[in-house]
Amino acid sequence: MNKVVANAKAAIQGIEDNMTLMLGGFGLCGIPENCISALVEANIKGLTCISNNAGVDDFGLGLLLQKRQIKKMISSYVGENDEFERQMLSGELEVDLIPQGSLAERCRAGGAGVPAFFTPAGYGTEVALGKEVRYFNGKPHILENALTADFAIVKAWKGDPMGNLVFKGTARNFNPLMAMAGKITIAEVEELVEPGELDPNFIHTPGIFIQRIFQGVNYEKRIEQRTVRQKV
């Protein structure tokens, strides 16, 4: 089973205007840089993007925002982005804000065939508007639906041709969950290894969730908040 494609351009074939995409990453950490660039180049419009954040002005999903390719963002936190703010306030961009844990669980549920689940997060807030409320053990919960996407795009550290993935550090974040929830899931990896090179016991995302994989190039891996201490 060989799911390898040549590059990001080949990987995003079939992504069309007005589709719904999931994109892994937290802030700028663990984002699919190559595929984002390819989406910019292909100038696909009207996208609904499900991603925890919306990048910064000149990197990550901010690049798609600049070119007005995104119609709607579904995220938990969208600070650090002036162009985002401008488009949202002017009404050009629809925004659906979701508690971070609900976002993660809704992606997992979408991939796991669980159409809805109850969570306490958001009860009594705007997030609960129009949602069913039910008490369990005396505590109020709201019903949240699963999320899926036409394409999910994730970034991993290593991957093999069958699509098995390994992530590095906190670049894991939403990637394994979104990988489960795409009708088609694309994985870009820093290193494409030979079949059998990844230990079957230590794979973060089983290849079954991945339809296309390629080794990315020129990763910038920009740091948003460089915080350091000095050696004494």
Binding site: G79, Q100, G101, A121, G124, T170, H204, Q225, R226, V228
Partner: protein
């Protein structure tokens, strides 16, 4: 009156051995610097790490190792990494013993508002709604009043809520208060701050019973 460091130091006194703790952005983050001698806790960051360590040495930053504030971090010995669903399974499943976060407003019934100012930029709730709805033990770390001197401890929140009836304790620059069914109960005064000053800065119901001791901060 306490500064932000002082607030962090006072909350650090609440830490108990063996606790897992989630610290929000801002004042809460400072708490990690003041863990009392002999107390061992582990810090969780909701983007997917347990056993978060200090900032890396200059030149040793790793773009793949950040906390929920997007700051570069290190991992302690015995740390572990996981995905966002597992991270919030820990939070929602009440495996975290203490959550400390900031707030714009807290009501005297424990309601909290800290994510949105209508008409102004909305940045989103991030993990705050999951944290406040899930945790049994939530401490709010904040200044007692806003920049215009208006109380942030209210009878009722005016901003869109993050969670309802969830805050248990508040530590401000002026006081330590417990949230009780009858309102904010004053527990400690900040050094040099009088009960009257606290009363004046508190819009919500304030319960003052007996002598209120002054905090002990190193």
């Amino acid at each position: 009156m306490l500064d932000k460091k002082g607030i962090a130091k006072r909350i650090a006194q609440e830490l108990q051995n063996g606790w897992y703790v989630n610290l929000g952005i801002g004042i809460p983050t400072l708490i990690a610097n003041y863990v009392p001698e002999g107390i061992s806790v582990e810090f969780q960051s909701e983007n997917g790490i347990l056993g978060m360590g200090p900032f890396p040495f200059d030149g040793e930053e790793d773009a793949d190792m950040i906390n929920a504030g997007k700051q570069t971090i290190t991992a302690m010995s015995g740390a572990c990494i996981f995905d966002s669903a597992t991270s919030f399974a820990m939070i929602r499943g009440q495996h975290i013993q203490l959550t400390v976060l900031g707030a714009m407003e807290v009501a005297d019934n424990g309601d909290i508002a800290n994510w949105k100012i209508p008409g102004k930029m909305v940045k989103g709730m991030g993990g705050a709604m999951d944290l406040v709805a899930s945790a049994d033990n939530i401490i709010v770390a904040m200044m007692h009043t806003n920049k215009r001197g208006v109380s942030k401890l209210l009878r009722q929140c005016t901003l869109p809520l993050t969670g309802v009836g969830c805050v248990k304790k508040i530590v401000t620059n002026l006081a330590v208060l417990d949230v009780t069914p009858n309102g904010f109960k004053l527990i400690e005064r900040a050094p040099g701050v009088s009960v009257e000053e606290i009363q004046a800065a508190t819009e919500g119901r304030l319960i003052v019973e007996g002598d209120i001791p002054e905090m002990k901060i190193d």
